[in-house]
């Protein structure tokens, strides 16, 4: 039996001339919560659809718990729980009926057993009180929770959740995080996508960043941060006296850009590693500037993602 819950090798998905996923390869161990993040059009949903057996890729190998996703679809579907983006629910069913129907499709025992399992899942997402409410009357967050309950029903070994936190209030997000982490402790592998990297950083043991169909970085949150955004930091240097000379001196320094002169301080972007930063400060003091403080602000996850997304945009002149 494979040690990995998911193995993807050289996956490619095309929509005509548009390449949605390009040569993606990854391995996800069992019992982990892994986040997939990237801007719109990064290829997250296409990747998820292939993993969830809903789409045939152009080519590539995909296996789930050792089963070939493209060949052993029926077996894979028994192991899989998939929650799509903007999770839909039927308008003509009540919550309990919706879940009982899906319990039925997965042949979860007799009627009493199915009902018990439905109650268990409803309780897990705090929707027990809404059992007899119409699915169409639920708020966005409640709908997300209901579909999460549906995904949990048949106790899948691998869960693929596309933007599960969208529309959830902070409390529900926290509950979602706790639920996913407890599932991981039970041995379930969770692959979850989001636009919000900080959100994933909280709930995932590792993160995969995609952009334009390609894998950009993967690892723990810190590893991803340093891999994608380690070079750039915003600096504010406060000095005694006038800042004019410091401004001129910094302009000539390597790795310094976006300078702004303020009262008693110069703000600038610095690209370089920690050693380069220490060297800059030392040179500054050596040059005779009376440095009072040097503040450093590193790019947040969101800023990194925005930078990645902005890199996708083609200049209008082209």
């Amino acid at each position: 039996m494979s040690d990995y819950a998911l193995e993807v090798h050289d996956l490619r998905v095309d929509y005509g001339d548009f390449v949605a996923v390009d040569g993606l390869s990854l391995k996800i161990p069992r019992g982990k919560v892994v986040g997939l993040v990237g801007p719109n059009g990064a290829g997250k949903t296409s990747t998820f659809k292939v993993l969830a057996t809903l789409m045939e890729p152009t080519y590539g190998e995909v296996s789930m718990c050792g089963l070939d996703v493209l060949e052993e679809t029926a077996k894979v579907r028994k192991l899989l729980g998939y929650m799509p983006d903007l999770a839909p629910v039927p308008s003509d069913l009540k919550l309990g009926e919706f879940l009982e129907f899906h319990a039925d499709t997965h042949a979860l025992g007799n009627k009493a057993q199915r009902r018990a399992r439905v109650d268990e899942c409803l309780a897990r997402v705090n929707l027990t009180a809404k059992r007899n409410a119409w699915c169409r009357k639920l708020s966005r967050g409640q709908t997300q929770r209901l579909v999460l309950a549906k995904t949990l029903l048949h106790e899948p070994q691998v869960m693929i959740l596309d933007e599960p936190a969208s529309g959830l209030d902070p409390l529900s997000r926290r509950e979602l995080r706790l639920t996913l982490q407890s599932l991981a402790r039970e041995g379930v592998t969770v692959l979850v996508s989001s636009h919000i990297l900080s959100e994933l950083a909280e709930m995932c043991s590792s993160i995969i960043v995609m952009n334009q169909g390609k894998l950009l970085a993967s690892g723990t949150a810190e590893e991803v941060r340093s891999e994608l955004g380690s070079d750039r930091r915003e600096m504010t240097m406060k000095v005694l006296g006038t800042t004019g000379e410091l401004f001129s001196w910094l302009t000539a320094r390597e790795g310094v850009s976006e300078l702004v002169q303020e009262e008693g301080a110069v703000k600038f972007d610095f690209v370089g590693d920690d050693e380069a930063q220490v060297q800059l400060l030392a040179d500054c003091v050596r040059a005779g500037f009376a440095v009072k403080t040097l503040e450093e602000k590193r790019a947040s996850f969101e800023e990194i993602l925005v930078e990645v997304a902005e890199g996708n945009e083609t200049p209008l002149e082209e």
Binding site: T58, K78, Y82, P84, D104, A107, E155
Partner: protein, 551 residues
């Protein structure tokens, strides 16, 4: 709870245990929605029953009077099951896709066949219940009217077979169309077309099409559904009507109807099954499409050829119904109608060819993906039977089969004892040319530019010239020649003109006879040139795709 791998699904035939069926039993049989519909159905059926019986009781004995309500109730049942039920299946299926929940069902670990059955019988469950609510009236009428049990069996067996076929068609429409209102209207429109236009086409030599409706079984059962005296007359008249003929076989209408509908139902099941397996796949594979085309040709010929000698195939005999047989015992078919039948056969064959080409021709996206996959796997060609491969050769096979079918049909009619004409092999070449220009041209457009461009070309080049030609010809006799020239631009007119030109037994107006051959050959040569250019462009694109796939 049992482990996922141990959970066993119920067998496909156990409909009562089918989760999708049960889901719709729950949602579509809620007392609030069902109650109103049930009340309305009972009121309308009860009214029709009571009124028909009350009128009949004035003039007929109780047994005959009891038979009178059967047909009005059958009409109501037809509206419920054929129209509303089919619309509901198509609309409901589209709604599943529209709401996005269809992916949940796609992921459900049930077999594609179980899912198909679940939707097929689950979506129209309310209509089945409404139908059942009308049955007591039918049972009473059958019982009191002393209608034999076998009539009920064959009539309602036919109803069930037709319902399954129409609902499957609705299911296919629902998986293809994106808008639920359109799906509802298109599927009901198709049923309306089937019961109004198709029977008329059947009278032009394509007898097979009437077996897609309930008419043949209804006609066979008619002697028992009307008062006994009238029934005896109908029965006598029916003895003059041929049974369902299939080459040398004589079959009861009911049996042949079930057989004919069964093939189409099977094709529809395959379509839905393929879509359940993979949402992007073609509705039918290439082999299935060609087999279906061949089978329809065989059915058309098998039904038509045995009816030529007795004259039962000809429109002038059929349009007058049974009446002609009594009124005009020395009836003979006219040469003109024989030519027209050859033309209609050709147009239907061409239409079928164009429809199946839409099904099996890969769009640009599919071709790109296919080439990239092939390149990645180090292969040189697209898989011949796969969705991504060209439909060119398959179009060729269907054109060949269609030409053979047309030639056999036309030769048997024209060289029959009615006309003693002659159909030369060259005639088949002319007809084949009309299929080649239209078929290959259509295939190339679809492969090169896709369905949207294809539809535009179909309307502008296929439909508009015919419409203009018809208006011109009708408005002024002097415009008949230019009308023929303009109408001939349409590839759809090709088979009719081929029949007019090549089957020289009929006396058409002189100007038509003179204008038709040059118009046919001129436009067919141009269309052939166009088709060759399109094929070349399509091949060029294929080369480009092969290169793109390397990137």
């Amino acid at each position: 709870m049992r482990a996922a791998a141990d959970r066993k699904q119920k067998p496909v035939w156990a409909l009562w245990a089918n989760p999708i069926f049960r889901r719709y039993c729950k949602s579509r049989l809620r007392p609030k929605g069902l109650g109103v519909m049930l009340m309305m159905t009972l009121i309308v059926t009860g009214f029709a029953f009571a009124l028909a019986r009350a009128i009949a009781l004035h003039e007929l004995d109780p047994i005959d009077a009891a038979r009178i309500p059967v047909i009005p109730i059958l009409v109501i049942q037809g509206i419920i099951l054929f129209f509303l039920g089919t619309g509901q299946v198509a609309g409901g299926m589209t709604a599943e896709g529209d709401e996005g929940v269809i992916d949940y069902q796609r992921l459900a670990p049930m077999s594609p066949l179980a899912k198909t059955f679940g939707y097929l019988f689950g979506l129209p469950i309310r209509e089945y219940v409404l139908f059942l609510s009308t049955l007591p009236f039918t049972i009473w009428s059958f019982w009191e009217g002393q209608i034999p049990l076998f009539v009920a069996g064959q009539l309602y067996g036919g109803v069930l077979s037709s319902v399954i076929l129409y609902h499957l068609t609705g299911l296919v429409a629902g998986t293809v169309l994106k808008n639920r209102r359109w799906a509802f209207l298109v599927s009901m429109g198709a049923i309306f077309f089937l019961y109004t236009v198709v029977p008329q086409i059947a009278k032009f030599g394509l007898v097979y099409f009437k077996y897609l409706t309930l008419y043949p079984i209804f006609e066979e059962s008619l002697p028992y559904l009307v008062p006994q005296d009238a029934g005896a007359v109908v029965e006598t008249a029916q003895r003059l009507l041929p049974p369902a003929r299939f080459f040398n076989l004589n079959l009861p209408q009911a049996v042949f109807t079930l057989l004919s509908q069964g093939v189409f139902s099977l094709a529809a099941v395959v379509m839905v099954w393929r879509r359940w397996k993979l949402s992007e796949s073609h509705l039918l594979g290439k082999v299935w499409s060609v087999a279906l085309f061949a089978w329809i040709q065989i059915l058309l010929l098998g039904n038509a050829l045995p009816l030529i000698a007795g004259g039962d195939l000809f429109p002038s005999r059929n349009l007058g119904g049974m009446f002609n047989r009594f009124v005009d015992p020395i009836w003979e078919p006219e040469a003109m109608e024989a030519v027209l039948m050859a033309g209609v056969y050709g147009v239907v064959t061409l239409t079928l060819l164009l429809i199946l080409l839409v099904v099996i021709t890969p769009e640009y996206d599919t071709q790109v993906r296919g080439w990239r996959r092939v390149h990645k796997l180090g292969q040189k060609r697209l898989p011949f039977f796969g969705d991504s491969s060209s439909s060119f050769w398959w179009a060729g096979v269907m054109i060949l089969l269609g030409t053979i079918g047309w030639f056999v049909f036309t030769k048997n009619i024209i060289e029959s004892h009615w006309f003693f004409g002659e159909v030369k092999v060259f005639s088949a070449v002319a007809f084949a040319l009309s299929l080649v220009t239209a078929g290959f041209g259509w295939q190339a457009i679809l492969e090169w530019k896709g369905r949207r461009a294809g539809t535009l070309v179909f309307i502008l080049l296929g439909v508009v010239p015919i419409l203009i030609g018809v208006v011109m010809a009708v408005s002024n006799e002097a415009l008949r020649v230019p009308a023929i020239w303009i109408g001939s631009i349409s590839p759809l007119a090709g088979p009719v003109l081929a029949a007019i030109n090549e089957v020289s037994i009929a006396d058409f107006p002189r100007d038509v006879e003179r204008a038709a051959p040059p118009a046919f050959w001129f436009w067919q040569c141009l269309l052939l040139f166009g088709a060759v250019r399109l094929i070349a462009a399509s091949r060029q694109q294929k080369k480009a795709l092969r290169e793109v796939s390397v990137q």
